[in-house]
C-alpha cells in the first residue's frame, strides 16, 4: 500500500506546530498503525530528519500510551481498538491519513504526537486508592462480592487511562476516565469507606486540571478502546452529589 500522511509536527511545548505531509510506500496491510509509523521514521532517520515522536509501550492494547487522533477519531475509526492494535488493512491503498495529538489544555504537547498526561495521575492521586490494613495477603473470598458488582467493577477497571475520552470530547472533559476510576472502587466493599470523599476529591481535581464539564454527548464512550459505558458517569455524579 502507498499512503499519504498528514502529521502534526511540533518541535516542543513552545513551538506553534503545523501539519506536514509525508508519502509512505510499500506498507504491508498486516502492519499495525505504529509499525507503519516506524517504517516512516526509519526513512526519516536515514534521511537525517527528525523522526516523528509518538508514545507507545506495550503495543498490545493494555498500557494506554499510544494515543493519537487518526482521521479525526481518537485511536482511529476501528471501534474499541487502541492505535497499536489498529491494522493497515482497514485503510485503502492510496489513502490520505491525518494524524494529530490529543488536543486538550490539560494535555500539553511535549513533542509531535506525544502529550503529557500527568493530569490523569494527579486525578488518581486525589482519591483513586483504598485504605487497607497492611500485612499478609488476605484469604480469597474473605470479603464476599456480588457477581454483578464484581463484573461491573472489573469492566470499569479495564480503563487504561489512554485519554481518548478527553481527546474526543467536544468539551475536553475527563469525566469518563474519572468516572471509570471512581466506579471501579465504589462498586466493591473495599472501596466503601472513602467512597464519597473520593468522588468529591477526584471530581474537584478534574476541575483543577482545567478539563471541561460533561454534557453527556457520548463521544467518549464511542471512542473508548475499552468501551467504558456512559452510565459510569451517572454513578460518579450520584456519588458527587451525595458528597456535597
Amino acid at each position: 500500500m502507498n499512503l499519504t500522511l498528514n502529521v502534526w509536527r511540533q518541535k516542543g511545548p513552545e513551538d506553534a506546530g503545523r501539519m506536514v505531509k509525508y508519502k509512505v510506500k510499500d506498507v504491508s496491510p498486516d502492519m499495525s498503525f505504529l509499525e507503519m509509523l516506524d517504517v516512516l521514521n526509519e526513512r526519516l532517520i536515514l534521511d537525517g530528519d527528525d523522526p516523528i515522536a509518538f508514545d507507545h509501550d506495550c503495543r498490545e492494547g493494555i498500557c494506554g500510551m499510544c494515543g493519537m487522533v487518526i482521521n479525526g477519531v481518537a485511536h482511529g475509526e476501528q471501534v474499541a481498538t487502541t492505535t497499536c492494535q489498529l491494522h493497515m488493512r482497514h485503510f485503502e491503498d492510496g489513502a490520505t491519513i491525518t494524524i494529530e495529538p490529543w488536543r486538550a489544555a490539560p494535555f500539553p504537547v511535549v513533542k509531535d504526537l506525544v502529550v503529557d498526561r500527568s493530569a490523569f495521575d494527579r486525578i488518581i492521586q486525589a482519591g483513586g486508592f483504598i485504605s487497607v490494613p497492611a500485612g499478609s495477603a488476605p484469604d480469597a473470598h474473605s470479603v464476599p462480592v456480588r457477581k454483578d458488582d464484581a463484573d461491573a467493577a472489573f469492566d470499569a477497571a479495564t480503563c487504561i487511562g489512554c485519554g481518548a475520552c478527553v481527546a474526543a470530547c467536544p468539551n475536553g472533559s475527563a469525566s469518563l476516565f474519572t468516572a471509570a476510576k471512581i466506579t471501579h472502587l465504589s462498586l466493591l466493599p473495599q472501596g466503601q469507606p472513602e467512597r464519597l470523599s473520593r468522588a468529591k476529591a477526584m471530581v474537584e481535581q478534574m476541575d483543577a486540571e482545567g478539563f471541561g464539564g460533561c454534557t453527556n454527548t457520548g463521544e467518549c464512550t464511542a471512542v473508548c478502546p475499552k468501551g467504558i459505558p456512559l452510565d459510569t458517569i451517572a454513578k460518579m455524579n450520584a456519588d458527587f452529589l451525595k458528597a456535597n
Partner: protein
Amino acid sequence: MTATIERGSATAPVTPATPPPTPVRKPGKKPTSFLGSSNGKKVVMAVTGAIMVSFLVLHMLGNLKIFAGRESFNEYAHWLRTLLEPFVPYRTVLTLLEIGLVAAVVLHMWAAISLARRAHKARPVKYVAKKSQATGYATHIMRWGGVTIVIFLVWHLLDLTFGVVNPKGFDSLPADRMIAGFDPTRWWVTLFYVVAVVMVGLHLRHGLWSMFQTLGWAAKRYQVLKPAAALLSAVLVVGFLAPPLAIMIGIVK
C-alpha cells in the same frame, strides 16, 4: 549512507540530542464551592431545566384548553390569576411562579455560559480533522438551540403575554389574543412558533436524558430513561403545536 537500523531503534533518538523540555503544567485551583465546580453547575442546569420542563407540561395542558372553547380557555387564564384568593391578592401565586421561572431561566443560562467558556478553554488548539462518533444531532445544538429558545421566548412574551406585538393588544381576552396571534394572515408567526417548538423538543430530547445522567439517576435505568426523555419531548412538541396549527387551518375559531 550505510547505516543499518535494527528493529526497535526507529523511534529512539538518533543523535544524543537533549530531550525536549517536558511541559510543566501546574494544576489550577480546586473549586471552592459546589456551584463553582463544573458538576455543581450541571446540577444547577438540571434542576432549573426540570423546573422549566414542569412549567412546560402545565403550560401545554393549559393551551390545549383552547380546544374546549374560548370560555374554557379564558376561565383557566382567570383562574391562574385568582389562585388562593381571597387569602392573597389578585395574581400573587402567578407572579411568584413567574419570578421562579425567570430565576430558573437566568440560572440555567448562567450555568450554560460558564460551562461553555470552560469547554473553550479546555481545547485551545482545534483539531484539523474531527469526526463525531456519537449518534444524535440534538446533542450538538444544545447551546445554539438554547439561544434560539431565548430569542423566541422574548417574542412570545411580547406577543401573547404583554400583547405588544399582538393585533388585539394588551387589553384583550387571552383566547382572542391567541386566536388572532395565529391567524392565517400571520403565517410567519406560526412558522416561527413551529421552528421554536421543534427547537425546544430537540433541546429536551437530549436535555431530559442528560438531566437524569447529571442527577445520577440514569445509572441503572439507562434503557428506560433514554426513550422516556424522547417520548416526553415528543409529547410536548405535539401538544404545543396542536393549538396554533388548529387555529391556522380554522378548526378553532
